[in-house]
Amino acid sequence: MIKLENISFDHCIKCTVCTIYCPVARVTHLYPGPKQSGPDTERLRIKNPELLDVSLKYCSNCKRCEIACPSDVKIADIIQTAKWRYSKKELRIRDFLLSRTDLMGTFGTLFSAIVNFFTHLGMVKYFLDVIFKIPSGRTFPNYASGTFTKWFKSVRKYQDNYADKVIYFHGCYVNYNYPQLGKDVVKVVNALGKGVIITKEKCCGVPLIANGYIKKAQSHGRHNIKVLSSALPDDKTKIVSASSSCTLALKHEYPNLLELDNSPIINNITYITQFILEEFEKGNILRLKPLSYTVAYHSPCHLERMGSAAFTIELLRKIPALTVKILHSECCGISGTYGFKNEYYGISQSVGNELFRIIDEAKPDFVVTDCETCKWQIEMNTKYKVIHPISLLAEAIE
């Protein structure tokens, strides 16, 4: 029996606009494009799961097809669901490890010096390439020497000085790889006169979804909805995140893909730049000192999918003396763990080429973007450093 709410594929008028804007279909013909992998073949799969065309595995879930679709078809959701519902399950150690960001992070931060040393060794990379099919060309993000949550314990007591609170969903990247971004978030939120609450969150589930561990992603989702909603002191309190993909997961992937009821938190979840702008509009304006840089802003796919890139652009424009060059919206190609797999590595690099080219053309002092994996991809492929908009804002706070 087909659930009535899942027949958005039936609204597809076969216009092919999604395939035009698919970054993967643009660079490889191995992928027939979102129209064919999504709504076209969904009706076949419903009839008989044997009719699965495995080429849909090339979808990187960037969701640009959904942005382009004039008929509101949830193309990427159809493809992701089909991937795990109909594909043969193979146990792959690599996919297991790549998707367990919290497990790997706990280990990585404990032995960060050793782990970071080894993951940058040519020999180790060669070994990973041959055994695990993780491309040797890929640069690994470093693990931090201590987690964000551990640092946060040292500042938790100051947070009670603020009557108003904000719940911060920091995500795995901030916790294990780059606590500085979390510290910047706390600095900015405090500067706005609000205290920060963090919960015992788990990974939002994005890498689990990408690697087909849907059950696990659902259990993470249920956990997160529970801890976040029970930490909410009232309806008005915001749950902010500085990761575009975590925000997308909490807000959209939970109900649309994982079929979880996130209604207790959906209206509270706000991407951080939107939250700050709203505070500014209420008159709670940060005093910012001029930063005379020229930055190139890259809008991540998942932020665009939420219609939230405009908030970051608007916020950057509020920093005095900052010159912001808005890059033409292009996918960077990494798509989370997608670019960490041998079979997609070439595609991932080809997708990003256009973005790398326009970044070089813009000649900025550095690049600004909201997404951690976009940052890795851009830093690996251009000579520019990539900074999160919140870190820039933190720098501008007097």
Binding site: T16, T19, Q274, E304, A310, I313
Partner: protein
């Protein structure tokens, strides 16, 4: 977030309005849910192609006549001087992005459709078969219409057969040819899976152009004129066109294909880039779902992605298109405008919406349905009150038939331009 002006819909009307507002220094945002009808268009700009089922050669004379007789027509609300100004504005803004539009002075010209018929239009892209080419054409004896083997969205035999029937081409030999592009099979994909976009991407790779040109030359060496499907790239089409012509030493021109329309995407691309260049904020993939209106003034609008966070502006432009784009919604026995619940011009009885004969000369009544507005393009709400800071433009407007009159883009450009002008004047007066 607060703006001076928020435009809902990013088709020809919304983008024209957005460019004009941004150019005047207004803080402007465009919210778009999905790509516009440009992706399905011919890529030519029709001003007024038909009146009373007859072809129009002099569109401005026909507009004079029309504005004198149909009081409610969007062209009447704009007036001829503004329409002329708007068209010039549109042409110049496209030129800023390297998209050159051909016009035939004040006259219409004809472009060849994908089926080989001739259709009156006002602007065509430089690489499209047009009047200028046609005048050079008279002395010529042979046209070769080529296609790429396996490409299913263009049928040169059909186009050739239809074109031969036309009196203009009575003394001309028209031949259909297929060429095989080795690049098509490079990675094991069958050419019949190719759509216009795939071939356009092959054209966009510089290394391929010379090879393709040589194949065209081989297939059409004795032709005076080569016609091919419009696949000469989306961004670097000028260079591709020049290169093809110089290498083949032939006159090579394009005709529109079935969607996706590469010609339409060039316009889409040019207008969006121009809007961004002028500092406009473009929000893609979000849908405006409701508005907050008090005392006939729109306070805020809300989107699908941000149902609780208002987007506010001093003025708003509604350019969400007609039924196809979701600007108007029809159900079994009623129709409505979904965001503001505006007053519509339409017949209540369903059986009056359409004509039993699909190709009837009188077309279909529903194509005339849409939002009612005053002279300044402000719409009426369901209580017949004018909404003070909302303006309408493009296909959502009532009292014109874009198909029957061949005036869709012209109305979009004129009303988009006018709506922007109203807002610019209003905000100037207020400050």
């Amino acid at each position: 977030m607060r703006y001076d002006c928020i435009i809902i819909g990013a088709g020809v009307a919304g983008l024209t309005a957005g460019i004009r507002c941004a150019k005047e220094g207004l803080h402007t945002a465009i919210i778009s849910s999905g790509m516009s009808a440009l992706h399905f268009s011919s890529g030519s700009i029709d001003l007024l192609g038909y009146r009373d089922n007859a072809v129009v050669y002099k569109p401005f004379e026909a507009i004079d006549q029309l504005t004198g007789t149909i009081a409610q027509h969007p062209y009447t609300k704009c007036g001829k001087p503004l329409i002329i100004e708007a068209l010039l504005f549109f042409k110049q803004e496209c030129e800023q992005q390297g998209l050159f539009l051909f016009d035939n002075g004040n006259l219409n010209h004809f472009h060849v459709t994908t089926l080989g018929t001739l259709k009156p239009t006002y602007f065509s892209q430089r690489s499209v078969f047009n009047e200028d080419v046609y005048s050079r054409f008279k002395a010529m004896k042979k046209i070769v219409i080529i296609n790429f083997e396996g490409y299913r969205d263009f049928h040169p035999q059909l186009a050739a057969a239809q074109l031969s029937k036309h009196s203009l081409f009575a003394n001309c030999e028209i031949v259909a040819k297929q060429i095989e592009m080795p690049q098509l099979q490079d990675d094991g994909k069958y050419p019949h899976e190719f759509r216009s976009i795939d071939i356009a991407r092959i054209f966009e790779k510089e290394a391929n152009i010379e090879k393709i040109a040589d194949l065209i030359r081989l297939a059409a060496k004795d032709a005076d004129f080569v016609v091919m499907p419009a696949v000469m790239g989306i961004t670097n089409f000028n260079q591709i066109h020049n290169k093809l012509q110089s290498r083949t030493r032939l006159l090579v021109y394009e005709v529109p294909t079935l969607p996706p329309s590469i010609l339409g995407m060039r316009i889409d691309n040019a207008l969006k880039s121009r809007f961004a260049e002028l500092g406009g904020v473009y929000i893609a993939g979000d849908k405006v779902v409701r508005a907050d209106i008090t005392d006939d003034v729109v306070n805020a609008i809300y989107t699908n992605s941000h149902p609780e966070n208002p987007m506010e502006a001093q003025c708003y432009i509604l350019s969400t298109g007609s039924f196809f784009s979701g600007g108007l919604v029809s159900e079994f026995d009623n129709m409505y405008e979904p965001i503001f619940k505006l007053k519509l011009h339409h017949e209540p009885e369903r059986n009056k919406w359409y004509n039993q004969n699909f190709f009837h000369r009188d077309s279909h009544a529903f194509l005339q349905y849409g939002v009612l507005t005053d002279e300044s393009l402000r719409p009426y709400d369901s209580n017949n009150n004018i909404i003070q800071n909302l303006y309408c433009s493009g296909a959502i407007m009532a009292h014109y038939n874009p198909i029957k009159e061949g005036c869709g883009s012209g109305v979009a450009i004129s009303t988009g331009y006018k709506a922007a002008g109203q807002i610019i004047n209003l905000l100037k007066r207020m400050s």
